[in-house]
């Protein structure tokens, strides 16, 4: 199978491709390996011969456990709101199709396209003085909802269109089912794969979100990425690495879940679908 296709790439072409591929892999993975090692090494400067330890992990836990819980609360609240708001919107856009639907999708994607700093500043100048909102975790959730909503709408909308749900819905309507009944018993179950993959994306993005959160947080509402930035700036390398390790472990189940969904839906050989952050 592979021989005739590979024949269209000359030998030096293939070799150059392989070398560049391996260099790219090394550039991406070497720092990760060193980060993982540094998190469990007694003294990174001395190296592995100083011995392995879980001491740094324990210290991170003592210092930053609250950021971990807050991040989970923020991510789950964000997911709940985005699902409740985004899935119905995805359905409306599926029914509308056409120019207007695309324009609306474009509009709700703006909080992703525009740098997070701008969105955060806008939220602060408009809502920063309202009641106790500024000091509460809800303020961060609002930012995360804006940032993740388009991903849920797009993922849910893709399955709704792919399965031709509008036609099914029309049939159910002729049989006399009310919209809300049709939505809950026909549309949502049929769009479930898209909603689940959207949900995993929303969780990944919320757990890793920093650009908005850094401006929206207060000393009492630190999330995990905020804590990470704090540890990078002020803690020893081993603690920063151990904290990063905990963060990666937290992302693992989401990563595996999305890979699994992607593998079910597509050819085995395509580029893996992985949860991805969207801002630097």
């Amino acid at each position: 199978m592979s021989a005739p296709r590979a024949a269209t790439q000359s030998r030096w072409d293939s070799r150059l491709g392989l070398v560049i591929t391996l260099l790219v892999v090394a550039f991406l993975i070497v720092p990760v390996i060193f980060s993982l090692l540094a998190g469990v090494t007694q003294n990174y400067f001395v190296g592995l011969k100083s011995g392995l330890t879980l001491r740094w992990i324990a210290e991170v836990w003592a210092l930053y456990a609250d950021t971990l819980w807050r991040t989970l609360i923020v991510a789950l609240s964000t997911l709940a709101i985005v699902t409740l708001v985004g899935v119905p919107l995805a359905w409306i856009l599926t029914l509308m199709r056409g120019r207007l639907a695309r324009a609306i999708e474009e509009l709700i994607t703006l909080p992703v396209a525009v740098p997070g700093l701008a969105t955060a500043l806008a939220l602060i100048v408009s809502w920063g003085t309202v009641g106790g909102l500024r000091a509460s975790t809800a303020f961060i959730v609002i930012g995360h909802v804006l940032f993740t909503l388009p991903f849920m709408v797009r993922a849910a909308g893709a399955t709704m269109q792919g399965r031709d749900l509008p036609a099914l819905d029309q049939a159910a309507a002729t049989l006399g089912a009310r919209p809300i009944v049709r939505f809950l018993t026909l549309i949502v179950p049929n769009a479930a794969p898209g909603i689940v993959s959207g949900a995993l994306t929303v969780l990944t993005l919320s757990i890793g979100e920093f650009n908005l959160t850094w401006l929206l947080h207060t000393p009492l509402t630190k999330t995990l990425p905020v804590g990470l930035a704090d540890s990078y700036a002020s803690m020893r390398l081993e603690i920063a690495s151990a904290y990063t390790l905990i963060f990666l472990v937290l992302l693992m189940p989401l990563l595996i879940g999305l890979q699994w969904l992607g593998a079910r839906g597509s050819r085995a050989n395509t580029f893996p679908s992985a949860p991805r952050a969207t801002s630097l």
Binding site: L28, P31, L117, L121, P179, G208, F210, A277, L280
Partner: protein
């Protein structure tokens, strides 16, 4: 009408988006028009060389990183597409996809591990008796951070695009006597062009708005997101911060929108940005 009975379904999303994004953005834009010393903040931003330098740095760095990303991602994408069955292929693709989930702060930290005071490169230089090399805490580190973030995304987009090239075209070219270089320039590159544009624009836009990475590497790096942050927190100069945010947002959005128009709808789907 298909929408009958459904309209109110859009109400929660519309209310939420209007109250928490649309109206706040309008307010931010009007704040940028507030006068400082008798001139609107927008005029300050447009006439002050400091901000121009900051914008120039940001655009230059982002443009350079996007170019290098695409230059590296094209051969990797071609290689992965032309060799669908080599041992370790799944591992290679998994390793390239793994960093997709890392947010900017983590990318910054990884660059510090690579080129910081205790970095891999510095340690290696020390081991062979050379001066330790430290490059993480400035423009060079930031450039590598942009590259780190963009490469997995660009490789994903370009691998998919290279897989879409009809290999019989390349074989026909070969039969007709076209060398590898001619085949690449005349067949592959034109076919890859939309994906290259899409990937490049996505890298550029994410790099322009990058904050977490800059924040981790050093708050003295003179790029626009850092300038906005400093105006806001250190000088409480909210009109200028607002004006700069609007300018940065508009530039970033325009690049994404333009590239999307060139590359077709595929740009968005592949970029995720």
């Amino acid at each position: 009408m298909r929408l009958r009975g459904w309209r109110w379904f859009a109400a929660p999303a519309a209310a939420l988006f209007t109250a928490f994004w649309l109206l706040p953005m309008v307010k931010l834009a009007t704040l940028g028009a507030h006068e400082i010393d008798g001139r609107a903040a927008y005029m300050h931003v447009l006439t002050d060389l400091r901000y121009w330098r900051s914008l120039f740095n940001t655009v230059g760095l982002s443009l350079g990183a996007s170019l290098l990303t695409v230059i590296l991602a094209v051969p990797v994408g071609r290689f992965l597409a032309r060799h669908p069955h080599f041992p370790g292929r799944r591992l290679v693709m998994g390793l390239i996809a793994f960093p997709l989930a890392f947010p900017g702060v983590v990318v910054g930290f990884l660059i510090i591990l690579l080129g910081g005071r205790q970095g891999v490169v510095g340690q290696a230089a020390r081991a062979v008796g050379a001066e330790p090399i430290v490059f993480a805490y400035g423009m060079a580190g930031l450039f590598l951070g942009y590259l780190y973030f963009s490469l997995p995304r660009a490789v994903g987009v370009l691998t998919a695009a290279a897989e879409g090239i009809d290999s019989s075209l390349l074989e026909a070219g070969q039969t007709l006597g076209a060398g590898p270089w001619r085949r690449f320039m005349d067949i592959e590159l034109p076919a890859l062009a939309p994906a290259v544009t899409a990937a490049g624009a996505m890298c550029f836009a994410t790099s322009m708005g990058a904050f977490g990475t800059v924040f981790t590497l050093g708050t003295q790096i003179d790029v626009l997101p850092m300038t906005i942050y400093n105006e806001f927190t250190n000088y409480a100069n909210i009109p200028v911060a607002a004006a700069l945010s609007i300018v940065l947002g508009a530039v970033t959005w325009a690049v994404l929108y333009g590239a999307q128009a060139i590359a077709g709808r595929g740009a968005r789907a592949g970029g995720g940005a």
